[in-house]
């Protein structure tokens, strides 16, 4: 059942040979039913056996396809009676032979034939196209066999193959390969056999698939186990790292052990690198002799060693065979030692990098030459990274421990004074609280009844705190300043800069500070200095009402408090200083901001001073906390208000009204500043000289505007007074130096701004000037461009001129007047309205004073009429009135001083033209003249050329006609002569024959002349056209040779040919080139009386050269050029003797040139001549004469 189904899946081939069908579909008649059944049973059994055998093979050799394929093919061949069997695998493009069975000779052949494309086989093509089975009953009967390439024929001819069965190995839609069976007789395979092979094919596909999966599984397993091994190693190292913090050696050892083991190395080392030296930090399995080398101490590795390379590149160094390394070969001592002492062969050094700095190297070695794999290198790199981490961890751990130790110590120390510190820290910058706390704490802790702190304030010392002192003592001491001296405890401490104790103030002979002592009632009194840099800045004092001296310990404690008091005072001092600085800073920042604002105004309104002045003054006034500000600029010996700021009273403003000048009296601040060029501050105007003298300005300032304090700052440009800025306060409060400086700064900026504006305006003026001249230049250039572009289109040029003149000279109408007969008419105009144009169409002008144009013609120079209505000579016409014409400018177009036209510019308003504009119009007029002149000359030339061409044409035509007309009689002359010489009219006498021969030769010479003249006239008329076709240079030479051979023989000259064995085919006009060579050879024979004439051909670089060398008289250098000209021979005396027209070379030269070639002569008088011409091998186009 299964078999039958598989049979039906085999597609039936439409063109299967009939024999196949008959054999497989109908039982053989003579066979008995039993025999048939027995055979079928036997067959089925055999096939079953085969299938199960194959399955067994598949099961027994997993992952190995060859035995499976062998088993399949062997059984398939046996069961299908095939002579040859194959399995091919297919990679999508080519078929690869996997196994083949058959006779030896065939196997040798098929195995060396290599992978095959589908097209190499009649059946592969069909399989690739999608068929499952490709069966050919007889290859030789295939229609494509006849046309097929050698392969199908080879297998038939060489190996007798006739029948082919190819079955596809296909998994889903993918073609994996084929099973191919051959028979040596033309006997198709049966359906059953095909079904069997198809079955085998399915099994092969299963086997291929199994193998693929198995290999994949194996690869995965290998990958996984490898990864697992490495992971295990890594985790082991990590465990060591974590279990021995701070200890590196076990980590290094574990790392090395794992690296060596996993990477299948023989031993390993871990180096540390520091300050250019390397030391071994760990070794594993290193041969003792080599280990000893490193145990001696750190080494400085050579640059060529692996370590040296690590240091230089910070990259892994992998030396597969150290004995093959150039450094070893070169005798590098470390390498030599490594090989000699340690048997090193393969080295892998991986750098340990921290922040891209080399801190060590992890090395593993093999004593055999075997490269480490990429994975192994990666693993060692991983270990190296971990080593870096371990080193870093250890370092951090040590640091942490050190820090912890340090911290605990300082903590112990600090705990003691914690309370005080707490206060200090809590009220860091409230000094009084700190000192109060200290005073109280000192008293309490040292069993004193009272205490106080004395501080230096200014130059003297005062009590600043007190604890438990009675109020009258406090009142008393408030005003008492203490000074160094023996009379008081404080005085003594200040004197000695150390602690002083008076056991009983009442019993101390030197003690004089008795009144306060009595008021407070103390007896024993202790003073401890507050020392800063060894100097007392205060004293802490403690008193006891009984005579009970303080112990050393108590004094020491008080000293501690004194120190803390110094720290507190110092802190506050620093804090205050900081605050002050900060204030100063913010102030200067404010000023800076103001300055930058002013600067931004300056930059944002270039060329405008008012906003700059306004901003500047406003900022100056505000920043200096002033009420008003005024800026003055000097104008000669007077002043003008340039800017004002603040709500100045109207009455005072009257005084300062901007724009009006004023001259202050010599004592007024402004005048003094102008003189001294230095800032002046008047603290109170009311007491100033100017005010007291009654100068109106200061009087008004004080009495009207209530101004009291004022600062005036000069504005200086290169130390020259150009103005000033003044700011005012309505109260008596002087400005600080800083404020004055600020205003000075603004004054400087004001000067810069003024200067900028001046420069800017200058620049603008320059730019405008330049722009104008540029515009004119451009216009001129434009016109010149138009002239050069339309040389012969005069109207365009004149139109451009009028348009440019109108635009650049701001004219409403521009006309160019040119002669018409005896008068002048408009030949170009711009901005002329059509109606106006019509009016002027027939208007003509002639020289005369009544019009601008007429006057210009009359005077021959520019005429400028500002207003025609104010010109008594002007003849006003309606047209002029209608167009409202006022200003006119006429510029003559002069050629050799004579006006040949006028360029007239018109304005419809009274606005005279500037000199520049008149000059520009003159330039335009000159250009108009040039253009007119150019056109005139051009037309003249054109006319001449036309005439010349006409004449030349006539000449050529004449020559052509003449030569034609001359040919007809020549025919009769030469024809008759030949007929007579050919004895048509009977035998002429020998004498007659001689005469006729001369007639004939003269006739031929005449014909030659006629032909040459015709050629030349054709060339000149441009009628000579080359007939371009393929030709052979060799033929040309041979043709010429045979036509002149007899001539040479007659003169007893040797005529030779030198042709290279191979001349490339050429393309050109064969007849004309033959003519050229004939001419050259003919000339040589003609002019050579003895010796030889040699023809030589050469071809190179896409062209060929033909040269004719003779042993004739040669040509003088002076004549060498002449001979190529028409009707010229080197020596005219020879013409009579030798004949010739003198046209041949001229024609030859033209013909060669028409081929894009060159004709030349090399000759010296008395040494013969060589005429040569060089022509491209392939001439596709005729070269026109230039």
């Amino acid at each position: 059942m299964k078999k039958r189904r598989s049979m039906t899946t085999v597609p039936k081939r439409r063109n299967a040979p009939k024999a196949v069908r008959r054999r497989s579909s109908s039982p053989a008649g003579r066979e008995t039913k039993l025999a048939r059944l027995t055979r079928e049973l036997h067959e089925a059994a055999e096939q079953q056996t085969a299938t199960s055998d194959v399955l067994k093979v598949i099961a027994s050799s997993p992952g190995d396809l060859a035995p499976v394929f062998d088993a399949l093919v062997e059984r398939a061949m046996r069961l299908c009676e095939a002579a040859y069997g194959h399995v091919y695998t297919f990679d999508g493009e080519l078929f690869h032979l996997a196994v083949a069975h058959g006779e030896r000779r065939y196997l040798d052949w098929i195995r060396q034939s290599g992978p095959r494309p589908p097209t190499s086989s009649l059946t592969f093509v069909r399989i690739v196209a999608g068929e499952s089975v490709a069966h050919i009953g007889d290859i030789t009967a295939e229609p494509s066999y006849r046309s097929s390439k050698s392969r199908a024929r080879t297998i038939v001819a060489e190996f007798g193959i006739r029948t082919v069965l190819t079955v596809a190995l296909r998994k889903e839609d993918t073609l994996l390969g084929t099973i191919v069976l051959y028979r040596q007789d033309a006997r198709p395979f049966s359906d059953k056999q095909i079904a069997l092979v198809t079955n085998f094919a399915s099994q092969a596909v299963i086997a291929i698939e199994n193998t693929r999966l198995l290999n994949e599984l194996r690869q995965r397993t290998t990958d996984l186990s490898e990864a697992l091994e490495q992971q295990t190693a890594t985790s082991e190292v990590l465990r060591v790292i974590s279990s021995s913090p701070g200890e590196l050696e076990p980590v290094f050892n574990a790392m090395l052990a794992n690296a060596v083991q996993i990477c299948e190395a023989n031993f390993g080392m871990l180096f540390r690198y520091e300050d250019g030296v390397v030391r071994a930090a760990a070794m594993l399995g290193v041969p003792p002799a080599f280990a000893e080398f490193w145990q001696r101490g750190p080494q400085r590795p050579g640059r060529q060693t692996a370590l040296g390379r690590n240091i230089e590149t910070k990259q892994p160094v992998h030396i597969v065979d150290v004995t093959a390394d150039p450094a070893y070969v070169g005798g590098e001592p470390v390498f030599v030692a490594a090989v000699k002492l340690g048997g090193f062969r393969t080295i892998l050094n991986v750098p340990m990098l921290k922040d891209n700095e080399l801190i060590g190297v992890l090395s593993i070695y093999r004593q055999e030459v075997r490269a480490f794999t990429d994975k192994q290198i990666e693993l060692v790199q991983n270990f190296a990274a971990q080593a870096v981490i371990a080193i870093e961890n250890t370092r951090l751990l040590k640091e942490l421990r050190q820090r912890t130790d340090d911290l605990s110590e300082s903590l112990q120390q600090q705990t003691a004074a914690a309370d005080v510190l707490k206060v200090i820290s809590r009220s860091a910058f409230d000094l009084q609280t700190v000192l109060d706390t200290l005073t109280e704490s000192a008293a309490r802790l040292s069993d004193a009844e009272m205490s106080a702190i004395t501080r230096q304030i200014g130059t003297a010392f005062y009590h600043v705190t007190n604890y438990n002192f009675p109020p009258d003592w406090i009142d008393f001491t408030k005003t008492v300043s203490l000074e160094p001296g023996r009379g008081s405890v404080v005085g003594r401490v200040l004197l000695e800069s150390k602690s002083v104790q008076v056991p009983d103030v009442l019993n101390d002979p030197e003690y004089t500070y008795l009144e306060p002592a009595r008021k407070a009632g103390y007896r024993t009194f202790l003073g401890v200095p507050l020392l800063r840099e060894g100097k007392p800045i205060g004293v802490i004092t403690l008193g006891r009402k009984t005579v009970a001296p303080f112990t050393e310990k108590q004094i020491e404690l008080v000293s501690t408090f004194a120190d803390q008091a110094v720290i507190a005072i110092e802190n506050v001092r620093l804090f205050e200083e900081l605050q002050k600085r900060t204030e100063e800073l913010s102030e200067s920042l404010e000023q800076q901001t103001a300055t930058s604002e002013v600067l931004s105004v300056i930059s944002s309104s270039p060329g405008e001073l008012q906003p700059v002045f306004d901003t500047m003054l406003a900022k100056a006034t505000e920043l200096c906390e002033a009420s008003y500000g005024v800026m003055w600029l000097r104008e000669g010996d007077a002043f003008r208000t340039a800017a004002l700021h603040g709500a100045l009273p109207a009455a005072y403003l009257e005084q300062l009204r901007s724009g009006t000048q004023f001259r202050p009296g010599p004592d007024v601040a402004l005048a003094r500043v102008a003189q001294t060029r230095k800032p002046i501050q008047i603290a109170d105007m009311r007491e100033s000289r100017g005010y007291l003298d009654g100068d109106p300005l200061p009087v008004a300032a004080v009495d009207v505007a209530g101004i009291r304090t004022l600062v005036v700052v000069p504005m200086l440009k290169e130390n020259e007074f150009v103005g000033s800025i003044a700011i005012y306060r309505q109260e008596v409060r002087p400005f600080t130096d800083k404020q004055i400086e600020l205003v000075t700064n603004f004054a400087a900026q004001a000067v810069i701004a003024i200067e900028n504006v001046r420069l800017l305006n200058e620049l603008r003026q320059r730019t405008d000037d330049l722009g104008e001249s540029l515009q004119q230049q451009i216009a001129t250039a434009d016109v010149l461009k138009v002239i050069s572009r339309s040389t012969f289109d005069l109207q365009t040029v004149l139109d451009t001129l009028t348009a440019s003149a109108a635009r650049l000279c701001e004219a409403d109408i521009v006309n160019i007047w040119r002669p018409k007969g005896a008068e002048f008419e408009i030949s170009a105009s711009h901005h002329l309205s059509p109606e106006h144009k019509e009016l002027l169409q027939n208007l003509t002008q002639k020289p005369g004073r009544g019009s601008c144009v007429g006057r210009t013609l009359l005077e021959g120079k520019p005429v400028h009429i500002h207003d025609i209505y104010n010109d008594p000579e002007y003849a006003l016409t309606n047209v002029l009135k209608l167009r409202r014409i006022h200003t006119m400018l006429g510029v003559p177009l002069l050629r050799e001083g004579v006006p040949i036209g006028v360029m007239a510019l018109i304005r419809t308003e009274v606005r005279p033209f500037t000199d520049k504009q008149i000059e520009l119009v003159s330039t335009f007029a000159d250009q108009a003249v040039i253009a007119i002149e150019n056109v005139r000359l051009f037309e003249e030339i054109q006319d001449k050329s036309r005439q010349l061409a006409e004449a030349s044409k006539h000449k050529s035509q004449f020559l052509a006609n003449m030569s034609h007309e001359l040919r007809t009689p020549m025919n009769a002359i030469l024809g008759y002569t030949e007929l007579i010489l050919d004895n048509i009219y009977g035998e002429p006498t020998e004498k007659m024959r001689g005469v006729l021969t001369r007639v004939q030769s003269n006739g031929k010479h005449l014909l030659g002349l006629i032909n040459d003249v015709l050629d030349l006239s054709k060339i000149e008329a441009g009628q000579l056209t080359l007939s371009l076709a393929d030709y052979s240079v060799k033929d040309i030479v041979h043709n010429v040779f045979s036509s002149v051979e007899s001539l040479a023989k007659n003169k007893k000259l040797a005529l030779t040919i030198d042709l290279p064995p191979k001349l490339p085919a050429a393309h050109g006009d064969e007849r004309r080139l033959t003519q050229v060579l004939l001419n050259l050879v003919g000339n040589s024979i003609k002019f050579t009386d003895k010796g030889e004439v040699a023809i030589k051909a050469e071809a190179a670089n896409g062209s060929f050269t033909l040269s004719v060398r003779d042993t004739g008289p040669g040509i003088a250098e002076a004549d060498q050029r002449k001979i190529f000209e028409e009707f010229q021979q080197a020596d005219s005396s020879t013409t009579k003797e030798k004949g010739g027209t003198g046209l041949g070379l001229a024609i030859s030269k033209r013909i060669v040139e028409m081929h894009g070639g060159r004709l030349w002569v090399d000759s010296r008088l008395g040494q013969g001549s060589t005429f040569s011409f060089n022509v491209p091998l392939k001439v596709e186009r005729q070269v026109e004469p230039t």
């Binding site: 030569s963 040919r967 007809t968 030469l974 007929l979 048509i984 014909l1007 015709l1014 056209t1025």
Partner: protein
């Protein structure tokens, strides 16, 4: 073997040369002095070959050639144009008119005879 040659030529000298030349080899020569006569003579005598000048009165040789070649009965007669026109394009024009060969004047009678024999074989 005697052939009948039609010579179309307006110049007596040139006709005489041909007369002598053709007579010397035993050919029969019929004459025409212009193109129109040439067409008529060709139709009348059905010559074995025609020698045709180009510059002819009444009708030029080009037209005469064209007409003869347009006549199915005469088309097979070879026409050799014999002309003193030697400008480029002249031969092309003659070939376009239908002539079988082209010979420029002045010709060598010997060579013309050789050319004739090519067509008379």
């Amino acid at each position: 073997m005697t052939k009948r040659i039609l010579v179309v030529e307006d110049q007596e000298d040139n006709r005489q040369i041909l007369r002598d030349l053709l007579g010397s080899v035993g050919h029969e020569m019929i004459e025409a002095h212009d193109g129109e006569a040439a067409v008529a003579q060709a139709a009348k005598h059905k010559p074995d070959l025609i020698l045709m000048d180009i510059q002819l009165p009444v009708m030029d040789g080009y037209e005469a050639t064209r007409r003869i070649k347009a006549n199915p009965e005469l088309r097979a007669i070879p026409i050799i144009v014999v002309t003193s026109y030697a400008l480029s394009g002249d031969e092309e024009k003659a070939r376009a008119a239908g002539c079988d060969a082209y010979v420029t004047k002045p010709y060598s009678p010997r060579q013309l005879l050789a050319k004739l024999n090519e067509f008379l074989k």
